[in-house]
């Protein structure tokens, strides 16, 4: 049976400069995780500056008032730790995981770049090159690069924040200026627009003192006003296609709008359960039918969020992606998908189907919480998006409470006349 998640004793407080702090002590292993989430992601980029939020994330590793270029990497590694950062639709995160003896160092590193990052012309030019190399590696020179997270949004969405490429166009990246960087930092990287999370092996009072010592004198600047990215759903099926010179087989992605992740959480969770019923494991409906029984596709997946769930505010995307043989038309795959959704809408799934999905979710959430990196980042993003870090520990129970009728309703809402279909065509294939 799936027991309730043990929620550890978390504490939350806010420094005078507006920095929100989450402390989640846990002494089972002598390691500590530190993360900072800034409430800005690529949806906030201005037109003409696609990719800027991610480019700026790179610049935050290039040194600060007390730290030479490369010092960040060297200090974390020579303390026995690891680090990284990543840019999401609605936030950007930075983290270190280290032996607990290095807690103060990690706080120092994060505070120094929150207070005074070294933004230089040389670093900007250099990081534009690095980001372009990263895009060549991850998007341009590999099969299914950017599929579907870059390719699907411009089909499903109409407005710039939701539709544009978060990795950025090379022309936009090349036009980024040092003054853009300064404006971006002063606008979005204020302590009042950030969440600091410390999880793992530490003494809470001591951690509080260290946080006050290192972050307390980061000057307050007001957080920018929250923007809404809401736009109406498509009023018909919209199709587009993309030629991929490296893809060995054709692929398709279907994008739907889904309930508001923040204000309609239970509806959002019903969509996650639906995704599991459709494609999680050999026994799921679409795997059984489309991979094993018929078989029309070599791979199929469904999910909420283009990077995973709980990464974005409204609007968020439900997507189904499939890779299929060249002699299978996309319409056959779509027809099978629609048929399975109609069946689920008409006849809610059986209790066992839901139990399978919720047990696997429960185990994977436990497993994530056991990895200090994902626990630290999860607490930070739930504080940032939901104002409630401990919600992370209640998700499995909330998902287990989703009913068969909720899943049927979610399936019914994925309508063929309000969706985006993106077809990926290998270069030498005839367009269908």
């Amino acid at each position: 049976m799936v027991g309730p998640m043990a929620a550890p004793e978390n504490s939350r407080f806010t420094l005078d400069n507006g920095l929100r702090v989450v402390l989640a002590p846990d002494t089972t292993a002598p390691v500590v995780g530190v993360s900072v989430h800034y409430d800005v992601g690529f949806r906030s980029e201005p037109e003409g500056r696609t990719g800027f939020a991610h480019l700026f994330e790179h610049l935050m590793f290039q040194g600060s008032e007390s730290l030479e270029k490369l010092a960040h990497f060297k200090i974390v590694q020579s303390s026995g730790g690891t680090f990284n950062g990543s840019t999401h639709p609605d936030y950007t995160d930075y983290f270190e995981v280290l032996p607990s003896a290095a807690l103060e160092r990690a706080l120092f590193l994060e505070a120094d770049r929150m207070r005074a990052p070294k933004l230089t012309q040389e670093n900007l030019a250099n990081q534009i090159d690095v980001v372009k190399e990263e895009i060549r590696l991850n998007v341009l020179n590999r099969p299914y690069g950017g599929f579907p997270w870059i390719l699907l949004p411009p089909v499903l969405y109409q407005t710039f924040p939701n539709a544009h490429n978060g990795y950025g166009d090379f022309t936009d990246l090349e036009q980024a200026t040092l003054d853009d960087c300064a404006a971006f930092f002063d606008t979005y990287y204020s302590p009042a627009n950030a969440v600091l999370t410390v999880a793992g092996d530490f003494e809470p009072d001591h951690a509080r003192d260290l946080i006050e010592k290192h972050f307390g004198d980061v000057p307050h600047r007001p957080a920018p006003a929250k923007r809404s990215f809401v736009e109406p759903p498509p009023s018909r099926e919209i199709r587009d296609s993309h030629v991929d010179p490296h893809a060995p087989l054709p692929a398709l992605a279907v994008g739907y709008r889904m309930p508001d992740p923040i204000n309609e959480l239970d509806g959002y969770l019903a969509n996650l359960v639906l995704a599991g019923v459709l494609t999680d494991g050999d026994g799921s409906r679409l795997q059984q039918r489309l991979v094993h029984r018929e078989p029309l596709v070599t791979d199929i997946g469904a999910g909420a969020g283009l990077f995973g769930p709980f990464e974005a505010r409204d609007p968020d995307t439900f997507s189904v992606t499939a890779i299929h043989a060249p002699d299978v038309s996309p319409d056959r795959v779509l027809a099978a998908l629609d048929e399975e959704l109609e069946k689920l809408a008409a006849t809610p799934p059986e209790a066992q189907e839901l139990a399978k999905v919720t047990a696997r979710w429960s185990a994977s959430l436990h497993s994530e919480h056991d990895r200090l990196v994902s626990r630290t980042l999860g607490l930070g993003s739930f504080e940032l998006l939901y104002g409630d870090p401990s919600l992370m520990y209640r998700l499995a129970d909330r998902m287990a409470a989703v009913t068969a009728e909720d899943v049927a309703a979610a399936a019914k809402a994925l309508r063929p006349d309000s969706r985006a279909v993106l077809l990926v065509e290998p270069k030498n294939e005839e367009s269908k």
Binding site: R49, E65, S79, F108, A116, D282, G283, T298, H366, R371
Partner: protein
């Protein structure tokens, strides 16, 4: 990006107080002692069970020695791994997935020339089901014709793609150059062999080679470590054989030699792969050699990375690390570079090998890598899954929890002099051989100038 008045970049990067000193490290606590049982069952299976109750999950790692000398072994083994969980005497593919899903579980199978590996996890409450499905697969996997045919076909497609990857080409060339036709060189089966695999061959391989004697099962999770051994013994009582699982023959000891330039016409990037003999974890000099390797090229702040990545920009990734096989070990040095700087990158790599041997790491360098080694061991074993994987690697070499618990102490005891001795003995450039894969027309004249290179395909197996 017009907003209200903002500071300039220069103003942002400066505060009235100026730069601040980096705080020192605090006192590091050791990881808690692990309550565990390490025993061998009557069927010859070693079971290492460790209690770690952070979350109500269990992690399972089974390692079965799985060597084979015949030419079709790699293909048969790969198909066996792909289809082992697609049906048993009692369950079909969907039933296996359903039972695992209901306990929040997953199982997966993979194989290399040395071992068959089964990895899995589940909610701790589902442990009896996990053991039952595992036992079912080990004793009665059915390899029905349809599943074998379908998975073989998928495998052929995937192999075709992977054989075009430069890294795969370099890895195969390196193994063949060093080990000729030793079975270790057949890491990736040939697509044409996979196409010939029959269900009968796979079934025969399973009954001949999926054996408990000599294998090891690592369990980590929220359970009583003694009680869980009893449960495993009961669940696996049908898994019996007097024969022992097939151990890979020891690899020949490497003693250095020419580097082979393997032509890959028109390639824009080259793969540099050097390799030398190293020490197994059981050797008393291992901790010193581990630190020497880290200082040379084993982490971001190492000499090799600072030289060819940070200083010269020849490569995005340069790395050196150990590989363990049987009772031996090797150290590999890898870098991918653009053609025009490949020869220069090789020159700098050989220079750094010579330098670490002759101008040994300083006290500061040794302290930095010592912290890194101790810290990364602590962080990588903090989660159940991390601990299980780490222990599975140790257990495959006959080691266990004691080695893990004792290693921080061994790292702490290493002196600067120990590191210098290990570096001199194991990192001298003459001890290395290897391959460079790339466009021979542009590379050959420059590499010839360095000496110690021959051009050609590695000896065919």
């Amino acid at each position: 990006m017009s907003t209200a008045a903002h500071r300039t970049a220069e103003e942002i990067g400066r505060t009235a107080g100026g730069a601040r000193p980096v705080p020192p490290l605090g006192v590091q606590k050791a990881a808690a002692d692990l309550s565990h049982v390490d025993t061998t069952l009557p069927n010859g299976l070693r079971v290492l069970s460790v209690r770690k109750a952070n979350v109500p999950l269990v992690e399972v790692r089974l390692r079965i020695p799985f060597a084979g000398a015949d030419a079709m072994h790699a293909a048969n083994a790969e198909v066996l791994a792909e289809t082992m969980l697609t049906g048993t005497a009692r369950r079909d593919r969907v039933e296996i997935d359903t039972e695992l899903a209901l306990i929040g579980g997953e199982l997966s199978v993979s194989v290399d020339p040395e071992r068959l590996a089964i990895n899995g996890n589940a909610l701790a409450s589902g442990l009896p089901t996990l053991f039952d499905v595992l036992a079912d697969a080990l004793t009665s996997a059915s390899y029905v014709d349809d599943e074998v045919a379908r998975e073989s076909a998928r495998l052929v497609e995937r192999l075709a793609v992977s054989r075009t990857q430069p890294r795969v080409i370099a890895r195969e060339a390196l193994l063949k150059h060093c080990y000729g036709d030793h079975p270790v060189t057949r890491e990736i089966p040939q697509a044409e062999d996979v196409a010939k695999v029959t269900p009968e061959q796979v079934r025969a391989l399973h009954s001949r080679a999926v054996l408990p004697r000599g294998s090891v099962l690592v369990l980590v999770g929220d359970f009583d470590p003694q009680g869980v051994v009893g449960e495993v013994e009961k669940a696996l009582q049908g898994w019996q054989s007097d024969a022992s699982a097939a151990v890979l023959p020891e690899l020949p000891v490497l003693s250095g030699g020419d580097v082979l330039l393997v032509p890959r016409s028109g390639a824009v990037q080259s793969q540099i792969r050097l390799i030398g003999q190293a020490l197994p974890r059981t050797d008393e000099r291992y901790a010193a050699l581990q630190l020497a390797n880290l200082a040379f090229g084993g982490y971001f702040s190492s000499r090799l990375v600072e030289n060819i990545r940070e200083d010269k920009g020849y490569t995005y990734s340069a790395h050196s690390g150990f590989e363990f096989s049987g009772s031996g070990a090797t150290v590999g040095v890898d870098a991918d570079t653009a053609n025009e700087v490949t020869a220069a990158a090789v020159l700098e790599t050989l220079y750094e090998l010579g330098r670490i041997a002759l101008v040994p790491p300083t006290e500061d360098e040794v302290e930095s890598v010592r912290q890194y080694a101790v810290g990364s061991l602590v962080t990588s074993t903090a989660s159940q899954a991390g601990l299980a994987s780490q222990l599975a690697a140790l257990a495959a070499s006959g080691l266990g929890v004691e080695w893990l618990a004792g290693h921080p102490g061994r790292l702490a005891a290493v002196t600067v002099d120990d590191v210098a001795k290990a570096a001199l003995e194991f990192f001298a450039p003459t001890r290395f051989t290897g391959v460079v894969v790339g466009d021979a027309d542009s590379l050959a004249p420059r590499l010839a100038a360095l000496g110690g290179f021959t051009v050609g395909e590695p000896a065919a197996s």
